[in-house]
Assembly symmetry: C2
Homo-oligomer: 433 residues x 2
């Protein structure tokens, strides 16, 4: 009985078969588009009144005053103070490592003087106000709060505003603790498209922000798509993926559990293993069958592996790298003896895990790098979430009288040729002043 898909790179139909398994139908749902558009315009027009209505409706609440949607910091501190010692220490260690890694991403302003005494430079400054969306309910992950909030605060964001729905009035205390530990500034229990709208347009209660980050359901994703341009957004994430290149020497159950750890996210998540050793692949398949029944999330894992999971027999490890470059995975584990040798061949990957001890799960929580990564082949052109997503650059020039002579001549002439006479004159006036 099939439990996971298998392909051989030697097969003449390999490329076609692979493309079919990679493909997911991401057709936009028209109903969601229309519903979200209505919510956005309601909040834009009616502000807090509409926000309270939608929140009571969708989060099954009966709140009378909109002010009650803000949770004061004292409450998060309480949640944090009430943690068990070990919980607290784990969160603190993870936060510290994430902070340490991201501090290395800070960009600095620079400037230089050219041969005409013109000063040219680039000024780096933090975004002023950022909104952080955190899903409620089952998918309330403290790690996700830290991975989004810490880089924002390392960048120097002045006001970091977290929103998370308190569906049925419930808020996860680890999420509150993570918000406290990550120095979030304000927290509102709102969610869905109405939260994205409130952060974009602002209401009396909710401040308008410059950028919104964080994962969410299909309504949240569509709302982010619709407000993009009015505010900045992070990428809209697709299903999570892992691709493992293995030389067949890593303990079988380690690799199986790495495949499971991706598959357990949701049924569309994708786990792929590439190996040149068919015996090893056979053992992997057998071990999947053996371990799967014991997994609490076995239904999700089974469905993900059956529909989208994939073991590929490759001719050698270099071929594995080429296939990986085509897939451009979100997470890439190079579980081999000399992983650095193979990394040279890798062109596209969100995050790379080198050697058998580097499981994705360590990266997801506490190694240091960000776990918000480009999915669906977008690592070809985009990057993990980082401090640079919360900083912006302005160029500046201070032209000297001498510089105005030199640059003025060039600009005057090029502008004439482009038929932009005011540009030309504006440069010309400043020559020989």
């Amino acid at each position: 009985m099939k439990i996971i898909n298998r392909l051989s790179a030697k097969d003449p139909n390999f490329k076609l078969d692979l493309a079919k398994l990679l493909n997911i139908d991401t057709q936009q749902n028209n109903q969601i588009t229309i519903a979200v558009s209505k919510i956005l315009s309601d909040i834009k027009e009616k502000g807090d009144l509409s926000l309270l209505e939608y929140t009571n409706k969708y989060d099954r609440l009966n709140i009378k005053s909109v002010d009650l949607l803000e949770i004061q910091k004292i409450k998060w501190k309480e949640a944090f103070d009430n943690l068990k010692l070990e919980q607290r220490s784990n969160l603190e260690k993870a936060a510290e490592r994430i902070k340490q890694y991201h501090q290395k991403q800070i960009m600095n302003s620079w400037s230089y003087k050219d041969e005409y005494d013109n000063i040219l430079g680039q000024r780096i400054s933090p975004l002023e106000k950022v909104g952080l969306y955190v899903p409620g309910g089952k998918a309330a992950y403290p790690s996700s709060v830290m991975m989004n909030a810490i880089p924002a605060k390392v960048a120097g964001v002045n006001e970091l505003i977290m929103v998370s729905p308190a569906t049925n009035g419930i808020i996860n205390s680890l999420v509150l603790s993570a918000a406290f530990l990550s120095n979030v500034d304000r927290l509102f229990t709102i969610g869905g498209a109405q939260a994205i709208a409130a952060l974009t347009y602002g209401t009396n209660l909710i401040p308008a922000v410059d950028k919104i980050v964080g994962p969410g359901n299909s309504y949240v994703a569509e709302a982010k798509r619709q407000v993009f341009g009015k505010v900045g957004i992070d990428m809209i994430a697709g299903p999570s993926e892992i691709l493992i290149i293995c030389d067949g020497k890593t303990p079988i159950e380690w690799i199986v559990m790495d495949l499971f750890s991706q598959a357990e996210h949701d049924e569309l998540a994708q786990s792929i293993l590439l190996c040149p050793d068919i015996q090893y692949l056979n053992k992997i398949e057998a071990k999947i069958k053996e371990l799967l029944p014991n997994m609490p999330r076995k239904e999700i894992i089974a469905s993900s592996l059956y529909n989208r999971g994939l073991l590929i027999l490759v001719e050698n490890l270099e071929q594995a790298c080429n296939i990986s470059n085509f897939i451009a995975p979100e997470h890439l584990e190079i579980s081999t003896e000399f992983p650095n040798e193979l990394m040279k061949f890798i062109k596209h990957a969100g995050s790379i895990f080198l050697g058998k001890f580097s499981s994705e799960s360590l990266g997801d929580y506490c190694a240091g790098p960000n776990h918000v990564l480009p999915t669906s082949r977008t690592s070809r052109f985009s990057s993990p979430l980082g401090v640079y997503d919360f900083q912006k650059r302005s160029s500046f020039i201070n032209v000297s009288p001498n510089g105005a002579n030199e640059l003025g001549k060039i600009a005057n002439s090029l502008a004439q040729e482009e038929g932009l006479q005011a540009h030309a004159l504006s440069a010309h006036y400043r020559i020989n002043y």
Copy 2:
């Protein structure tokens, strides 16, 4: 007779009046959306056949074979070699200065070892294939080719593919020369949504790219919006804007021409001047009336200034900075005696021009910084086009056996709390191995 709008920051209705003048109706045109969507799916399905059909139709051509849509490099070199000596020298000087500035933006990979001998790092690599859209006809600007192509090549992009429609068979020789000088790799005479589609999906003739940059008309902008996610795109630019803060000591006609140089781009372009000296503002208005009739593009300038141009009387220069921060302009000229003192108050601006000699026109062509800048208040969260737009980052970790013990405990515990048992086990297996 009104020639430009005037406001005073003291006026009780100031904020409302300002907001009205800043606002532009950017409602999406449904017909364009549908037409573009049809073009995209045609090219995706039928490739070169469809590309040739659309190109012949929209560019008024009668080309028989799709291969003829590629212009060989020898032709661009010819165009470059045929330039007048002064033209060539101006282009070369501009290119050299742009290159020098952008080289300072190159990001470098880094890594470090932590206290458990884990290696953590960030790898920087160039995008592999990039498409550059260059408008044809009147708006064919060699400066725009250089501003997009040079940062891509400084970043190390392997294959830079330029597309530009040869409407009625005409290609601007300065555009060809700029492509040659900027080391573009291949050039195709295609345009519109069909060019964006070809670059996204690839055809037999046109390589599929990872990211598409460059300005275009409303069809091109809509096509970029629709393919976003499948490929990367730069920002979709709104009308161009300048905001000038002046202390009233810059020669009147310099400032007038700076306002004109923005207004001459198109009727939606916006020119704003802030000054605490009402006499100076009066003189500016008089000088506008005097100089406008002599400008070759006077109709466009007049319409832009009448509908969107704005002189604002402020109480002092610090207030001017606060208003500027609300507007978050694309171009900001601080035309004062001590511009650095004021720059400290500036939070948002794409590019800052300091002192009276620093006209925007010098920056547009040859000062060095990029002229592709965030418009429509997006400088609150985005940045000038730069080398960083053509590089991507991958994080990597190489966990040591000792590190796996330490990190494994934290990850195991946090994953348990998030209800992700496969994540927990995957970390747990690697403890004490």
